[in-house]
């Protein structure tokens, strides 16, 4: 099956799941309080005002239950994707032992709009990788849990390259 080239995610607060998303899972805090709905789309165009682009390899109906670290700066305080602090977070992502997957999130070609890092529940090394999330130094970060059927593991970037492959692609999508 070919990989969609453009994918989106959003964490929205509502009592019931918004309609129209390909992926829609209830999300919880680590002490089991409802934290909204995590939505995913594979549309070329932005499907929701809160949607942010993500490395399309992370989305999969076949994925297991995950713990997440979601770093999201305020929309009016997003640094440039090539800000030295963002570059250093990319370096740190390569330096550390790997979670199951990670992707920067983007709303436009030039700003960092957040990073989603996921770890498979019950895999101690991956869960431990969330404890020192380098992206948490840049923005408010939530630790959340989500069930199976939205995120999957993606091999770690090879390194040492930390560049994006095109201005609109989230990192570490590793092909032009």
């Amino acid at each position: 099956m070919s990989q969609p080239s453009v994918s989106w995610v959003a964490l929205v607060q509502s009592g019931s799941p918004p309609r129209g998303a390909r992926y829609s899972l209830a999300t919880f805090t680590l002490d089991s309080r409802p934290a909204g709905w995590f939505l995913g789309w594979t549309n070329p165009g932005r499907p929701h005002p809160a949607a942010l682009r993500i490395d399309p390899r992370l989305l999969s109906e076949a994925g297991p239950a995950m713990l997440m670290s979601l770093a999201l700066p305020e929309a009016n305080a997003r640094p440039l994707i090539d800000d030295p602090a963002v570059l250093e977070a990319r370096r740190a992502s390569l330096r550390h032992r790997s979670p199951a997957a990670r992707s920067t999130l983007s709303a436009d070609p030039v700003h960092w709009a957040g990073t989603l890092t996921v770890a498979r529940r019950g895999v101690p090394l991956e869960e431990a990788a969330l404890d020192d999330d380098p992206w948490a130094r840049l923005a408010p970060t939530q630790r959340l849990a989500v069930g199976a059927g939205i995120f999957t593991a993606v091999p770690a970037p090879v390194g040492p390259s930390i560049e994006r492959y095109g201005g609109t692609h989230p990192w570490p999508y590793d092909r032009f």
């Binding site: 330096r95 032992r97 090394l125 090879v158 040492p160």
Partner: protein, 178 residues
């Protein structure tokens, strides 16, 4: 030629086998996936215990900061188990992938067993610069330290591979320009 060592067949123009090995996190990785669409340095090394390897690793670290912005990938390969490779990688502050060939299956396939070391049975120190399709662009035999590539030689190799790889090496002319 019939008695030439197996390792001698892996010369520029030949294609490396597309092997699969665990990385420093224990995840299985295929060499062609690691290369992606970029030039790749495959760095076969003896092990963390060898002072020559520690010295050469520092050379790669100096090149890392250029490679990180140049769409160029490094892979280091040894017979160390993933945990040992991960520890050495962390100690070096290396930010690239390390592969573990604990059962020496790829080592023997490449003919790169260092027979002078009967304790570790490590890789012969060898560097390959390869194209994305795993065709070898350059090879350096580092059994003697001076056989290893300098940073400048690797820059020149990466330049040539990238020049052949990127259709916009000469940037497109502005609309209407000749």
């Amino acid at each position: 030629m019939g008695n030439a060592p197996l390792r001698d067949q892996w010369r520029p123009g030949k294609r490396l086998p597309d092997f699969t090995l665990p990385d420093h996190d224990g995840n299985l990785r295929r060499l062609s996936d690691l290369s992606g669409g970029d030039p790749l340095l495959l760095h076969c090394y003896r092990g963390w215990w060898c002072p020559k390897e520690r010295q050469f690793a520092r050379r790669l670290l100096t090149l890392r900061n250029e490679a990180e912005v140049a769409y160029t990938r490094f892979v280091s390969l040894s017979v160390d188990p993933p945990d040992v490779a991960a520890a050495w990688r962390a100690g070096l502050d290396a930010r690239w992938t390390f592969l573990s060939d604990v059962d020496r299956s790829v080592l023997d396939r490449l003919g790169l067993r260092e027979t002078a070391d009967t304790v570790h049975h490590p890789y012969l120190p060898t560097c390959f610069v390869v194209h994305p399709d795993l065709t070898i662009a350059a090879r350096y035999d580092g059994y003697w330290f001076w056989g290893r590539p300098t940073a400048e030689q690797l820059r020149a190799d990466f330049r040539e591979v990238t020049r052949g790889l990127r259709p916009d090496w000469n940037p497109p002319a502005p609309d209407g320009a000749g």
